[in-house]
């Protein structure tokens, strides 16, 4: 029985799989976050303009700013979650590579295994 597992190649493949998964997840989170930050700033500016022009009262402007601030908390929680999911996907991508490599090596080993009973 011969168990062939190229540790260096498997490690390199695992790193590559996890890195690409992590980069993909990071890009998605960053894209979403930057869009929401820009929108938030725009919304606060708009509320300020409306308050200055007297379109809405100061109390209502404050309530709107509070609402926007709270919604940004939900956005930040989402970004944190997207980060966790990216890490989870990266770990699983690496484990998938390891599983495939071990299964392949084990398959070869078992093929050549001779039982003497």
């Amino acid at each position: 029985m011969k168990f062939n597992l190229d540790i260096n190649k498997v490690a390199s493949d695992m790193l590559q799989a996890s890195a690409s998964s992590l980069i993909k997840g990071g890009e998605q989170a960053s894209e979403y976050a930057s869009h929401e930050y820009a929108q938030f700033i725009e919304d606060i500016e708009h509320v300020q303009t409306m308050a200055e022009q007297g379109t809405i009262s100061a109390a209502e402007a404050q309530a709107l700013v509070d609402q926007h601030k709270m919604s940004m908390q939900a956005v930040l929680l989402c970004v944190e979650g997207l980060g966790v999911i990216a890490v989870q996907n990266a770990i699983n991508a690496a484990l998938q590579v390891l599983n495939t490599a071990i299964a392949a090596a084990l398959g070869t080993a078992v093929k050549g295994l001779k039982f003497h009973l």
Binding site: E36, M70, I85, I91, A109, L113, K114, H116
Partner: protein, 165 residues
């Protein structure tokens, strides 16, 4: 004499059967199979799985909130005296969010979604308080709607991302 011969034959048979290298190889193979079964198959989970019920209920709550804002905008705003006509909306939102929070809490590794739902509850509480005290002007409606939609989108974005790659 016969028993001695029988013993010798059995010994030869045993020696033929017991081959240390093959035995070790078999053990190794079985060990690997067990290891694969125990650790190699299941994916790692750091966050709760996707929940269709949360997705559906948050989407429905977004729709009823949009209807609420559209109604207020169409009638030219809502004064604090008019608040009593909207208590059913606030009560329904509270009940829905309570159910969602209980469900989200039931899943392990779901603290982020639970925290998002708490933020949304706080937004509804603040909106109701503002409505009671000063009312909701027509001009402010689009801004309220943007803030609520940002939270709804954040909750749904996280929930859908849980579906995986």
């Amino acid at each position: 004499m016969v028993s001695k011969l029988a013993f010798a034959a059995n010994k030869r048979e045993l020696n033929r059967m017991y081959r240390p290298r093959e035995f070790a190889a078999t053990l190794l193979a079985v060990g690997f199979l067990l290891w694969m079964g125990a650790f190699g198959c299941g994916p790692v989970t750091l966050i709760a799985p996707y929940d269709q019920k949360i997705d559906d209920d948050v989407t429905n709550l977004q729709k009823s909130t949009a209807e609420f804002f559209t109604k207020i905008e169409r009638q030219g705003g809502s004064t604090r005296e008019d608040y009593k006509n909207y208590t059913k909306f606030y009560d329904d939102a509270k009940v829905t969010l309570s159910g969602l929070s209980v469900r989200a809490n039931a899943f392990t590794n779901n603290k982020l979604t639970t925290a998002q739902l708490e933020v949304l509850s706080e937004q509804f509480r603040l909106l109701e308080e503002t409505h009671m005290k000063i009312g909701v002007s027509r001009e402010a409606v689009p801004e309220y709607e943007k803030a609520f939609n940002r939270t709804f989108t954040a909750i749904l974005t996280l929930e859908i991302a849980k579906k995986g790659p």
